[in-house]
Symmetry: D2
Subunit: 264 residues, 4 copies
C-alpha cells in the first residue's frame, strides 16, 4: 500500500530570461511554488537573471535549484545533442556551481538539481545519463537533491542515488497523461496534455495522498512522487497552479520545499 503523504513539493522552471529578453512570469509563479528550477546560462538565463531569480526564490521561502541544460541557447536546450557522458558531467557541474555561487552570495543554499529539456528527456531514455547527472551533482555537493522522472523504475533510481550518495526526488507532471508503465504519454499523441484544471488538480491530490494515478486508458497504477512539476509561463498555467494549491489546501496537504521532508 502506498504511503500517504501529507506534504508535497511544487516545482517550476524559472529564470529563463536572457539579457534583454524576458520570458515567463517568474514574479507571479515563484510565490506559488516551493521549489524553483533556475536556468544556468547554457540554454537560458544569464548571470544577472540568475542572481535576481535566486533572490526571488529565497525571499519567498522557495528552494532554489539548478536547471542545467545543453549548450544550445538558440534551441532553448530542447534539441538533443550527441554529447558524451563526460561532457554531461562537466556541463552539469559547471552550471550547478555557477548557480550555487548566487545561492551563497544571496545568503542561501542550493536545494536541488533538475536537468532541463532535451537533457532531461535524454536521461529518461537512457539511465546512464541520470547517473552521470547524479555523479556530477554529488561531486559538487552531496546535499543536493536530484529531480528525476520516476515511474516503474523509481526504486532503481532511488538505489542509484544511494549508491552515488545523493538523494533522488521523483517528479510528477500535473498536466500530463501517463502510460500503464508509469512513463509519460508522448506529446505527439492525443490527450498527452491534460487541459482540464479540475482534473489535473485532482490527479495531483490523488498522487500526493494515495501515490496513485489513473492512466490514459483508465487503468490505475501506483506512482509516487515527492515533487510536482507545474508551469508559470502564461496566465492559464498560473491559474492551474492556483487550482492545485487550493485543492491540496482543502485536503490538508502542505506544500513545502522537498528538502524539508524528503527521506534520505
Amino acid at each position: 500500500m502506498p504511503r500517504t503523504q501529507s506534504t508535497i513539493d511544487l516545482n517550476s522552471d524559472v529564470g529563463e530570461s536572457f539579457g534583454n529578453y524576458t520570458i515567463g512570469l517568474d514574479e507571479e509563479v515563484i510565490p506559488l511554488v516551493s521549489s524553483a528550477n533556475i536556468a544556468c546560462g547554457f540554454h537560458a538565463g544569464d548571470p544577472v537573471v540568475m542572481r535576481r531569480t535566486v533572490r526571488l526564490a529565497l525571499d519567498n521561502g522557495v528552494g532554489p535549484g539548478a536547471h542545467p541544460g545543453l549548450p544550445d541557447l538558440m534551441g532553448f536546450g530542447r534539441r538533443s545533442m550527441d554529447v558524451t557522458l563526460d561532457e554531461i558531467r562537466d556541463y552539469v557541474a559547471y552550471q550547478v556551481g555557477a548557480l550555487m555561487a548566487f545561492a551563497r552570495a544571496e545568503g542561501g543554499g542550493l536545494q536541488h538539481v533538475k536537468p532541463h529539456g532535451a537533457l532531461y528527456n535524454m536521461a529518461v531514455a537512457d539511465p546512464t545519463i541520470w547517473q552521470a547527472v547524479a555523479e556530477a551533482t554529488a561531486s559538487v555537493d552531496p546535499d543536493l537533491i536530484l529531480f528525476v522522472l520516476g515511474g516503474a523504475n523509481r526504486d532503481d533510481l532511488k538505489a542509484m542515488g544511494r549508491r552515488i550518495g545523493i538523494r533522488v526526488a521523483c517528479e510528477f507532471f500535473a498536466d500530463r497523461a501517463y502510460n500503464p508503465d508509469g512513463s509519460l504519454v508522448s506529446r505527439r499523441e492525443a490527450g498527452a496534455v491534460i487541459k482540464d484544471h479540475d482534473l489535473a488538480a485532482a490527479r495531483v491530490l490523488k498522487m500526493a495522498t494515495e501515490g496513485r494515478v489513473v492512466c490514459a486508458g483508465g487503468e490505475e497504477i501506483a506512482l509516487q512522487g515527492e515533487t510536482v512539476c507545474v508551469h508559470g509561463d502564461n496566465p492559464q498555467a498560473l491559474a492551474l497552479v492556483r487550482r492545485i494549491r487550493e485543492t491540496l489546501a482543502n485536503a490538508g496537504v502542505a506544500i513545502r520545499p522537498v528538502a524539508t521532508f524528503i527521506e534520505s
Copy 2:
C-alpha cells in the same frame, strides 16, 4: 623598510583551450608555478577543459584559481566593454562558482580569483571595479584571495579587502617595466616588456627579497607583491619561468601557493 620575504608565489594563466582549440602549454607550465589562473568559459576555457586543468593543478600541488573574464570569446576577453558594476559582480560570481564546482568535484578547494585581460585592465584604471570583483568574490567564498595589480595604492587595496572581508594579494609582473608611481609602463612604449631572462629573474628576486624594483628610468622604488605573474604560452616563456625558479632557489626563496603564506 620593506619586509624581507623568503617565500613567493608564481602564477600563470592556464586552461585557455576551448573545445577543439588548444592554446598554451599547460602541462609544462603548471608544474613550474604555484598558482594557476584557470579560464572559466567566458573569454576562454570550457567545462571539459576546466575540470582537466583543475585536476592538473591539484596533482601538482598548485593552487587553483578562477580567472573570470568578460563575455567575449571572439575577443579572448581582451576588449574592454561598457559593463556595469552589477554586471561585473554577476559575471565574476558566475565564473567563480563554475570553477569552484570543479575544484570541489576534484577534491580540492579554490584558492584565488584573478580577473582576466580587459577586466583586469579596467579594474586597474577604475578601483570601483576592483571593489566589485572583491565583493563578488567575497560573497561566494570569503576564504578566496583576490589578485590585484598593486603599486602605490597597495595599502588602499589591502584596506579595501579588509573592509569587504577578503584577502588581497598584490601581483608583480616578471617581464614588465614599471613607472616610478608603481604602475606598469604601457605596452605601447618601448621597453615595456623585459626580454632579457637574467634581468627579469633578477628583478623578481629583488622584489621578493627586498620589496623593491628599478623603474624604467633608473629610479628604484618600493614595490611589494605576494605573487608573480609568469606566462606559459610558448617555449621562450617557459624558459623564463625556469630561470626565475633557479634564481629564486639559489637565493633560498621558496615558491609556494599564496594561500600558504599570505597574511590575513
Copy 3:
C-alpha cells in the same frame, strides 16, 4: 532654402527575437513602416527569425535592411566594445551577407544597412566608424544604402558616401529632442525623449516638408533626413507610428522605402 519633400521613409528595428525568445511587435509595426532594420544574429535575431522577418517585410512592400550589431547577445548590442576598425568592417560584412542570403532566398533584394545600438552610437562619436561601416557595406554591394545620423555633418557624410561609392540616407528621430548643432539631446538629460504624440508627429512633418526642426531650447535649425526612425516594441510606440502616418497622409506626404526616392 531646404527642399520640400513630398516623400519620406519610416524605418523601424525588427527581427530582434531569438530562439524561444520573442521581442517586439513585428507583425504589427512592419505594415506601418517602409524600411525594416533586421537584426542579423550578433546582438539579436537568428537565422529562423531573419528569414521570417525578411519574408514579412517583402510581403508588405517594406525595404529589408541589415541591422548589424556588436557580438554581444547578452547585452543586446548596447554596450560599446573596444573593437578595431578592421573588426567592425568584418562584423558588418558578415552580418550584411547573412541577411542578404535571406533577401535573395525570399526573392527580394536588400535595401539598406543601419548599424545597431552601441555600434551606431560609436559611429556617431567617431566618423571613422561610419567610414568603416560604409566601406564594408559597399564592398558587399554598392547598391545598398547606409543609414546614418546626420546633423551638421550631413554634407560630410554624404560626401564620404560618394567617395566610397555608396548612397547615404540621413535619419531623423521622431521622438528625440535635438541640440542646436543637430545632435541628439542625451538620454541622460530631461526632455530628451518626446512623449507627446501630436508634437512628435508634427516634428516629423516639419522635418519632412521643411527640412527644419525646433531644438530643445526653442531655436529652429535646418535638419534634413530621408528616413525617420520609429519604434514597434510596445503598443504606445505603435500608436505614435500610426499618428505619424496620419499626420503625413493629411499633409500629402508619401511614405515609401528610401531606395525609391533617394538621390544618388
Copy 4:
C-alpha cells in the same frame, strides 16, 4: 565504362581558426588544393578569419566555398543535433550568405558549399538533409556547387541537384576505405583510415582516371567523384597532399577548381 577524367579537384577544410585560437595549416595547404571549404562562424571560424581565408584562397587561384556547420562551437560542429529541416535550411543560408559577403568584398565569387562534420554525416544518413542543404544553397545562388558524398546514390543526388537547380559534385575521400556499396567504412572499424601515402595517392589516381576504387574487402567497384577531400591540419596530412599532387601530375591529371570542369 566510366569516363576517363583528366582533371580533378582537391578540397580541404580551412578557415577553422577562431579569435585567439589558431588551428590548421591554412597557409600551407591552400596553395596545394583547388577548392577551400571555409568555416562560417557556427562551428569554427569568425568574420576576421573568414575574410583572411577567402583572400588566401583567391590569391592562390583556389575556389572558395562555404563550409556551414551546426551552431556548436564548443563541439566543433561534430555532435549531431536534433535540428529540423527548416532550421538546417536557415542555418545553411545564413552561413553561405556570410561567406559570400567576403567573397564579394575580396573581388571574387563563391564556388561551392560543403556541409561540415555532423551536418555532413547527418545528410549522408538522411538524404532529405542533402535536399534541404541543396535548396538553401540554390535559394541563395543557383550557380553554387554542392559537395556531397556520392556512392551508389550518385545518380540520385545528381538528379536531386537538377530538380532543385544546382550542380552537385561528388566527393571522394583520399584516406578512407570504402564498402562495396560505395559508403565509407566506419571509423570505428579497423582499416577505416588509409595511412599509407602511396596507396592513398594511387587510389585517388585510380578514381580520377578510371572512376573505380578497390574496397576494403578487395572487391573493385565503380565510384566517380569530381572532388577529393584532403586534410591540412598537420605536417603528415600535408605530405599526403603533396604525394597525391605528384602522383596526379605524373599521370597527366590536372588539379583545378571544380567549377572549371563540372558538367551542368
